[in-house]
């Protein structure tokens, strides 16, 4: 009650809140909320065990968190930080993606070689699909027709027909695929391979490989250059690619597939998200336990923000 009135008071005096970046701390069972204006942690929210994947509903009214070791997806009110309820998720949910219908979550169950589809409204499991060993990367095409699961030990991208909830293709990629994204209006699928050290680019219409991107960081052995999470800059012109234990983020030209730059960030950089206009990127650095803020235009790191232990995922939340 007090909090509500305080909020109302602040609202009255300060017309605009700063937007936020929400970061899941895998080994602290918390979420750190970063104020994008001040670049400081303004809230720490307790969640279930081993939080990894995090994403907001399309209207940002709720946050979904994969609490992997609690074997559930938690639904959180971002204003109060309270857990509203939990969704059945299958065992060990690691990473997920929200379907464009804003209703179905596609969840990778890492320990079970299964992709679980959950209806967030009825709070029921709609389908479970057998995929390869250690599913991780999840993506849904912009038209919602295709979902992707990548499996880390099977080394495949599994293509799911979301109408039938069945696989319709399986394409090999390099070792330990970690992350997948549809880009350019869903015409291309990008899949990162951590141990392979590459990103494979697929033509979505034919599910065939169109190109492969290699990375080379000066002074770092190729074995340690391990692409994991990646996100596209405004207009899908470039990709920022987290390169894990090489402690760098690559800037890839999405037209030529050439790597244009490498930016030094924190240790074991994992995932990232942007602010509203994508001028700033926020990377989670697992080993150093911080978030690096990157000026996307200048392609340089401008600040490190200490968060919890082993930050994993990041999600942007506008507050205006």
């Amino acid at each position: 009650m007090l909090r509500t009135s305080l909020l109302a008071l602040t609202l009255a005096t300060a017309p605009a809140y700063a937007d936020e970046i929400w970061v899941s701390n895998e080994k602290d069972d918390t979420i750190s909320v970063i104020d994008i204006e001040t670049l400081e942690v303004v809230r720490t929210i307790e969640v279930g065990e081993r939080p990894r994947g995090i994403t907001f509903s399309k209207d940002y009214s709720v946050l979904y968190v994969c609490a992997s070791d609690s074997d559930t997806v938690q639904v959180i009110d971002p204003d109060t930080g309270k857990i509203l309820h939990e969704l059945p998720s299958g065992e060990d949910p690691e990473q997920f993606v929200l379907h464009p219908d804003d209703r179905h979550l596609y969840i990778a169950n890492e320990d079970d070689a299964i992709t679980t589809v959950v209806d967030t409204e009825s709070r029921t499991v709609v389908a479970q699909i057998d995929v390869g060993i250690e599913p991780e990367g999840m993506a849904v095409s912009p038209d919602g027709k295709i979902a992707i699961t990548t499996s880390e030990t099977t080394n495949m991208a599994h293509w799911i027909d979301t109408e039938k909830q069945e696989l319709f293709a399986n394409t090999l990629v390099d070792s330990r695929p970690r992350h997948a994204e549809f880009i350019k209006d869903g015409s291309e699928l990008w899949v990162s391979a951590e141990i392979g050290g590459t990103i494979s680019i697929f033509d979505v219409a034919t599910q065939t490989e169109r190109a492969k991107i290699d990375f080379e960081v000066e002074g770092v052995h190729p074995d340690r250059v391990q692409p994991v999470g990646f996100e596209m800059t405004a207009g899908d012109t470039h990709a920022l690619v987290a390169l894990g234990p090489s402690n760098h983020v690559a800037v890839v030209n999405a037209e030529t597939y050439e790597v244009e730059d490498y930016i030094l960030v924190g240790r074991r950089v994992w995932h990232m998200d942007f602010n509203a206009d994508r001028s700033l990127a926020f990377t989670t650095n697992g080993v150093s336990g911080d978030v690096t803020v990157i000026d996307v235009t200048k392609r340089e790191a401008i600040k490190s923000i200490k968060v919890g232990r082993f930050p994993w995922g990041a999600a942007f939340r506008p507050t205006n």
Binding site: E134, F168, L172, H221
Partner: protein, 385 residues
Amino acid sequence: MRHVLTISLLGFWASMSTDHEVPVAWLKFEQELPPTFSNHYPVPEDLGLAGALTALKDNETTGKFLGQNWSLGEHTAFLGDDAIEIARAALAAAPFLIVDAPAETVLAIADLPEAADALIFNSGAADIILRGEACRANVLHTLPSLSMRTDALAQMFQKKRWSDLVMIAGGHPQDQAYASAMEASLAKFGLALKARKEWRFDADMRRNAAQEVPLFTQDFGEYDALIIADELHDFGRYVLYNTWEPRPVAGSEGLQAEAWGAVVEQWGAAQLQSRFEEAHTRDMRSADYAAWAALRAIGEAVTRTKAADVPTVRAHLLGDDFELAGFKGRPLTFRTWNGQLRQPIPLMHPRALVANAPLEGFLHQRTELDTLGSDEPETACTAFN
């Protein structure tokens, strides 16, 4: 509509697959082990095999998308059995063999006429000679050699500047082999033993370690770390915390350098550990890891080459395109000069990972992984030329 989709699905899989049958044989040769002071920690009966079974499941899951049919035949030679007859039966059933046996048995199998066209994975013998002058072109090694393990510890000593080193070595051939490997590793990294003592007690250490070990270690004088060569885990465990000088213990006990251990959880390893524990209700050990890596390596080669014959698989494993995601932080590959699987070596105590060798600062022109074990210029192996 559903029918149409099913047919197109089948069509798709058919176009990707050529339906490979991939028979693999697991061969375990029981070894007579001398008794140890403690009989509380028996060696699991399914040591090694459990790792192969975990890999089989991994391969089967991948294989079902690619039309691969995996099978693992289990062949065990108990004491008194004719090991060679059992090996012949395995070779008749499968071209890929994963063998957990003493070095001389591995060689006897590799030299059988029936094995000429087979590919054998040594997952149980750490002997340096198998990677050196006694290497065979049809034998690859997924278990790290003794020297890879002792090199890892030598790097640690060097990094920590523990340069005054002493050793206690047991009397079994395995202990002596470990002690020799350790002395060679120390020399390789610019270190040397200050003193070495042989373990000569035959009393029951569970009762009197507290009285005997301080006296036994007193005449070492000042030193930085004590190395234990006790590969059968007989006396070493009673040395810790009983030494005259309060110093760290490393080697077969204390700080250990092994292929694998229950405390390895980084680099996604927690997933492999939990898969393994769920299936076999125990911790995954080095021999399990080596068997797992062998069968996964075959799986990776069959998947990438879309072939299941020995020449294609062997060429791929030793070629530039092979890499195994082995949950050790970087891709694993085979050394082309002796067939040894390159791999980081975790340095562990029973409760946590301490470091992961190669340690930072130990450089190599090809890959830092080749600072561990026998390198190309010094190899005595000629079978791979």
